[in-house]
Amino acid sequence: MRRGSVVQLVAIGAVCGAGAALVALLIPWMPHAASEQAGRIDLVFWFVTAICIAIFALVAAVILYAIVKFRAQPGEDADGPPIHGNTGLEIAWTAVPAVLVTAISIVSAVVLAKNEHIPHASAASSDRLTPLVVKVTAQQFAWSFEYPGFGKLTSATLKLPINVTTKLRITSLDVTHSFWVPEFGQKEDAVPGLETTLVITPDRQGTFPVICTELCGLGHAVMRSSAQVMTSQRFLSWAKGQQKQLGSSSGGASGKAVFTNNGCASCHTFTPAGSKGTVGPDLDKLAQEAQRAGKPLQEFIRESIVDPNAYVEPGFQKGIMPATFSSLPKAQLAALVAFLAGGKK
């Protein structure tokens, strides 16, 4: 290899590498991290990206150089030099990638271990926030979040105190789902019959989407909720307020609480509950819908909860609303029906 060609090759490689680096740096690739874990994932991401840009630049440089320099002349039928191999080169391109992927593996393994580390609560402290445990239950097509440290507190959206390590204990009632908040960078499947865990330490306040990423049926695309990160004080006062509401209404059997806790709000608009979902029919218009179905209002509501496919409002599809609500306790079902029937007022 002549000296000139080395210089040219390095120059092409530098240009390709610079181009790739610009693509990597100018486009905001990773979401703005909102957890300690996401910050560490960013670190691995950039470490891998640096290595990949180098490899990409090398390969691109050789291909481009070869395309330009080693092009056969029209009509040329000569062969290239019969080079069969080069032991040194072959050892090099076995060993160097091996070292690089080993480095990536080590960095990844360390970050993985850190991302799943849960600080132990000191024996003296009875603080419910070290760590905070949240039970996440997925079902077609809704999320519910239970806070075992706070009585029967259940919510359809995830509320988390900032800078508190939270351990999610995730399960599913029907098929496999997957819990993901892009800004937290953490994801774990919700597997029926198993409890999986995920550790998140939020470090930025805000509201972020909770997304189901494992295909779970017809309503997969709408299986969304939100995660709100707030200060510890606000979190505690929120929890207290919710508990009070629960306590005041005979063990959670208030229609509104049933509505909220079962995730109805994520799909349906219903003004008395303050919900604005548009995936399912508008529950402010239940009276007209019952008329169309030709059934008395109360009976229509009960049937639509227990057997959602019996009547489907025009413009909506069968099989999206989960049938699992048929297993609601009787008292809760009655409270929910009453709450919905009284809605227009």
């Binding site: 080693f70 019969p82 076995t94 993901w180 999986t196």
Partner: protein, 648 residues
Amino acid sequence: MTDVALHDPHAVHAPPPPPPTGFRRLLAPGWLRVPWMTALFFGIGAGITCLVRWLEGWEPIWDGQVMTTVQLTAVPLGFLAAIGGFDYWMRYAVGSPTREEDHSGHGARSWRDYFRINTDHKVIGIQYLVTTIFFFVIAGLLAMMMRAELAQPGMQFVDNQLFNGLFSVHAALMIFLFVIPAFAGIGNYVIPLMIGAPDMAFPKLNALSFWLLPIAGFMMLSSFLAPGGPFAAGWTGYAPLASTHQPIGAVFFNMGVQWAGASSIMTALNFLVTIITMRAPGMSFWRMPLLVWANFTTSLLVVIATPFIAGSQFFVMFDHVMHTHFFDFTAGGYPLGYQHIFWFYSHPAVYIMMLPGFGIASEVISVMARKPIFGYRLMALSLMAILVLGFSVWAHHMFVAGMAPWLRVPMMVTSMIIAVPTGIKVFSWLATLWDGRIHFETPMLFALGFVSMFVIGGLSGIYLAAVPIDIHTSDTYFVVAHIHYVLFGGSLFTIFAGIYFWFPKMTGRMYDERLGKLHFWLTFVGFNLTFFPMHWLGIQGMPRRVADYAPRFADLNMFISIASFGLGASTLVFIYNMVKSWRYGPVAASNPWRSLTLEWQVSSPPPVFNFDEIPQVVGTPYEYGVPGARHAVFNGDRTHELEETPVR
């Protein structure tokens, strides 16, 4: 066989047996036998099922789900029996005299012979390729429909059941009816020629293995007509979604996979025996072309791994139809068990879909760069390394699946290590290019397109192998981008390279070079515009397999949809070129690429039994630039035998 007949590809047959007359025509193997024999098998299937249900007292006696499942086995068996897939073996099995082999089912005299059971590997190879391209176009159209829906957030053209069906059937057809069998088709045509054999080891099995394919394809497609809609649990068909929450269309997938899988296994066995036992004199393993090495390795993967997906789909079908509880968690079933079994096939399947492409790229690059392949032995050994490592990485698809946490780091390490043999291959191709005399004909463009796109797909694979990044990107559009860079930029580009490269050998005519180049550039640009932006979508937060998405992704999705329609249109150029050139293209020389491998040393298309004289292999297949070097000599032409070049 007479020597005179051997030179004319169409004249070597014994005279065909006298055509049957009268009602006997209905008894002879062929399409006339299909209607009544298929009906007969339907009746037998229905009869046995109803009888068993009646005896057991199960109500109702005629159960739609059970009947459909049984008929998805019985009817195809009837069809295969009717066209003559089992005639020879049945005669043998019942002890009646077998017909002496007259080679009447060998070679093609007219286009009609492509629609019959044919035992000629060259006819079968073309049957494979035409069939797979048919399903490639269908699956591509399904993708276009998907992109039409995805052009805007919200729902526009299809409902959720249909959308989920679109991507499920798209993937299933592309994988089981296009990429895997297209490589089998190219292998079928080229391998016996490359190793100097007159045909495959088991021609009748070869014929049967082809006819399983259209059955699998039409079965998967017809799920769109099944009551309740197509199977909509993704090609991965995770239980319990696939086993307990799907319409009967899901069984069309479960059973379609069985037929396609059986076809794969038969072909792989055939390749293995052919390659091991039928190499020409002098063709040691270290003198085999790398395409043969690649198919040898792939066939090992197929025979070891494919039974696992067969098992997984049977279990799901049992859960669905027979109310077993393999994956039903409410009765002690284990949903993660499905994923483990499934990926134990489906990760090796990635290499089943890639290694033959490595082989094609090696052939094309070496010939078109006019240089020996760089590091031949290491290239072959790296294939074997991928074979072994390929079985130790399956759980990297399951880093977020909730499996045993300790399994993640070991699986990450093996997944990372598999990048090493893959890297060896890429660097060796680059070194082969270096200082060559490169001819940029269409096959070479696709081969170079493959190397560059596959590097990007491989690098995004590193991201996905690193557990913390995978936790973030798993099940997002990043994965969609990655698999398309590997399977489209990788497998599909090499399939195109192979089709253009061997087109003159297969058809005896030359394709249109200008159209070929146009096809490459449209595909290359359209492919990158379509799939590269998906990396960003996924990292930012767009999950895969959704018809509706956050409004902030709307502009980019519209862009991707438009690009994908351009990409789809590029296929029209390809099909026009193939059809036109096959009929009217200029007659091709026997060796237009000046290649050394054996398939180019015979006429285009080759004689019915490939070689008039058995070739004597005297050297490695890539001795470009070595004066006077030969890969093989034919009888009476042994002057170069003494110049045999040692393998480095």
